[in-house]
């Protein structure tokens, strides 16, 4: 036990002396949360649109002002003729054009039908289809208002309600994702690098000649990074609650316990990498390509797993971050109890034990 404490002390000295890395480790979660929170967003706000209104009647004016009243759109350009449409898109200022034909109101009232053309800039397909959906919804809304009189006796009204995230905020989605990313990076990458560094420097050999039991060497390596992760989890949660207004709906204790579990998973993965990697560069590359990329791409945080081809869906099951992401989303955003997340928790626990068993075996065999 006594030897063990000396070892942990030494690990803290290493961390403390390497200020740049320390700064990155503490700064990274903050930077990621802020970047994802304020810069990278797939929400549509105040998109600039162009209006080509050849009718200029009561109805078209009402529709345009309703579009403007929604916080999604901002009329940037009023175009007189269709020749100018192209030019307007070319400048890149305008993401959507709304085209009213002449005699819009007349057509509508006399023929009971009229058309509005919505033209989107599909260089960014996701944004343009979102914009078109929003615009159609606003127009439908206007139409519903006109239909207040029961001219058509039967009609289906759709009423939407978005559960758990009524404002459709992106931050509800990425906070769990950033948590998985940061923990994976701090724990797995840093642990593997710190173990491999000792192999590279030759200090590992001297340690192995000493009476200290190898398992203690390994555990001592984990302690500082485990504590660092606790700090990171805390800072991410504090930022999300107070800066991004993402609530913690479920039990905080459960959430923290699950985070600690995932931290252990990542630490064990780090150890596993360190037992195969022979240099710090290899350890870093393996952690980035083998752990970090799957965490970003296959955890369901950036891209929905349901939309992936079947082989990728299958592969995603071995990515620990996928299960962690499911757990955090459930506990934090939906507020579910342990009863509903026991399955992914069990899977993560299993993975952790498996990685632990393999890396301890590997560590022993290295001594031959």
């Amino acid at each position: 036990m006594y030897q063990f404490l000396f070892f942990i002390r030494k690990e803290f000295f290493h961390l403390w002396r390497d200020r740049q890395t320390l700064l990155i480790l503490f700064g990274m979660p903050l930077a990621q949360i802020l970047i994802f929170g304020f810069a990278l967003s797939n929400e549509v706000k105040n998109a600039r649109i162009a209006i080509l209104d050849s009718s200029k009647d009561e109805m078209t004016t009402a529709i345009v002002s309703q579009l403007e009243a929604s916080r999604y759109f901002e009329v940037a350009d009023n175009i007189a003729s269709s020749d100018q449409l192209e030019a307007s898109f070319r400048t890149g200022n305008v993401k959507l054009a709304v085209v009213f034909p002449s005699n819009f109101q007349q057509e509508f009232l006399h023929n009971n039908a009229a058309a509005i053309q919505l033209i989107g800039d599909a260089t960014d397909p996701n944004t343009s289809s979102t914009l078109i959906n929003y615009a159609s919804a606003v127009i439908m809304d206007y139409q519903q208002g006109l239909r207040a009189r029961p001219e058509v006796p039967m009609m289906i009204h759709t009423e939407m309600r978005m559960l758990y995230n009524p404002q459709l905020k992106g931050s509800y989605n990425f906070v769990p994702g950033v948590m998985a990313m940061v923990l994976m990076l701090v724990c797995a990458m840093m642990t593997s690098i710190s173990v491999v560094r000792e192999k590279e420097l030759g200090t590992m050999e001297v340690i192995l000649v000493s009476p200290i039991v190898p398992i203690k060497v390994v555990l001592a390596k984990l302690v500082p990074y485990f504590l660092l992760s606790v700090v990171n989890v805390a800072s991410i949660l504090i930022l999300s609650v107070w800066v991004l207004d993402v609530p913690i709906m479920g039990s905080l204790a459960l959430l923290i316990a699950e985070c600690m579990l995932f931290t252990m998973t990542s630490l064990m993965l780090g150890l596993l990498i360190s037992s195969v990697a022979t240099s710090q560069q290899v350890a870093m590359l393996v952690s980035l390509m083998g752990l970090f990329l799957p965490t970003v791409l296959l955890s369901g945080f950036m891209f929905p797993i349901e939309n992936m081809p079947v082989p990728l869906q299958v592969i995603s099951n071995v990515v620990p971050a996928k299960w962690f992401y499911i757990i955090v989303k459930n506990v934090m955003i939906k507020g579910t109890d342990f009863v509903h997340v026991w399955k992914p928790t069990l899977i993560l626990t299993g993975m952790t034990l498996f990685f632990m068993a393999v890396s301890i075996r590997k560590f022993k065999t290295r001594l031959e």
Binding site: Q3, L5, F6, R9, K10, R17, L201, E205, E368
Partner: protein, 245 residues
């Protein structure tokens, strides 16, 4: 009792025999030079004696403990200085001493005394709180040796301790080795410098995994009719079949 006793020790990696049936004894308090060209099997043999690698066959005892059954006891009785510099560059001298003292189970009081003694003997009093990376190589090697001797081991293994060090520091280093041997510590040292081989009580010369010569430097020079150890070494090493690894 012999400090180290080796009988027919062999290590194979697949079909390659790195150490081929070597037998020798080292007396307590002796300075034993372990020579051989690169790739002759010195480091592998030394690693087996330190418990870093298991022999394929053969018997050995180190500090009176059997290599197979007493590895924990062996580890407590030996010190080891590896070929590569093995102190932590980003720790201060004091912190390195604390760490290595700690993993060998020294108490805080012992560590404090040792640190003080070491600072005085190496004349590093004013540098104890500076990072190891700021020291010149010669100092680092001397410090490394002192750290390997912290827990007063019965046997100390030195793997090319003076590689790349200037002649003056090498001489200082050998005074330290003599001082340790005078106190009864057995010194097992590998080196490439033939003048250093002359300083040893006895030397063995490994060629292709076997020990081809063993004796005091005077005996070996007589046996191979050479005026210095360099001549002895060259005659033996030229016979080697193995390419350098």
């Amino acid at each position: 009792m012999k400090a180290i006793s080796v009988q027919s020790l062999t290590k194979r990696f697949g079909s390659f025999t790195a150490v081929d049936n070597i037998t020798f004894d080292v007396d307590q308090g002796e300075i034993f030079g372990f020579l051989g060209a690169n790739g002759a099997g010195k480091t592998t043999a030394m690693r087996m004696l330190c418990g870093l690698s298991f022999p394929t066959s053969g018997q050995a005892s180190v500090a009176g403990y059997d290599l197979y059954t007493g590895s924990e006891d062996i580890k407590k009785s030996i010190g080891y200085m590896s070929q590569r510099f093995s102190l932590y560059e980003d720790l201060t001298i004091k912190e390195n001493i604390r760490f290595y003292g700690g993993i060998y189970g020294l108490t805080n009081a012992q560590i404090k005394d040792e640190t003080q003694a070491l600072a005085t003997s190496l004349q590093l009093e004013d540098k104890m709180n500076s990072l190891v990376k700021s020291l010149p190589l010669g100092w680092k090697q001397k410090l490394s040796f002192s750290v390997a001797m912290l827990h007063s081991p019965r046997i100390v293994f030195l793997d090319e301790p003076t590689g790349g060090v200037d002649p003056i520091t090498r001489r200082d280093f050998w005074s330290m080795i003599y001082a340790a041997a005078d106190k009864g510590t057995t010194v097992f040292v590998t080196t490439h410098y033939m003048d250093e081989a002359e300083y040893c009580n006895r030397v063995s010369i490994m060629v292709d995994g076997r020990i081809d010569a063993l004796g005091s430097p005077t005996e070996l020079k007589d046996q191979f009719q050479s005026k210095d150890m360099e001549g002895v070494f060259l005659r033996l090493a030229r016979k080697a079949q193995r390419a350098e690894m």
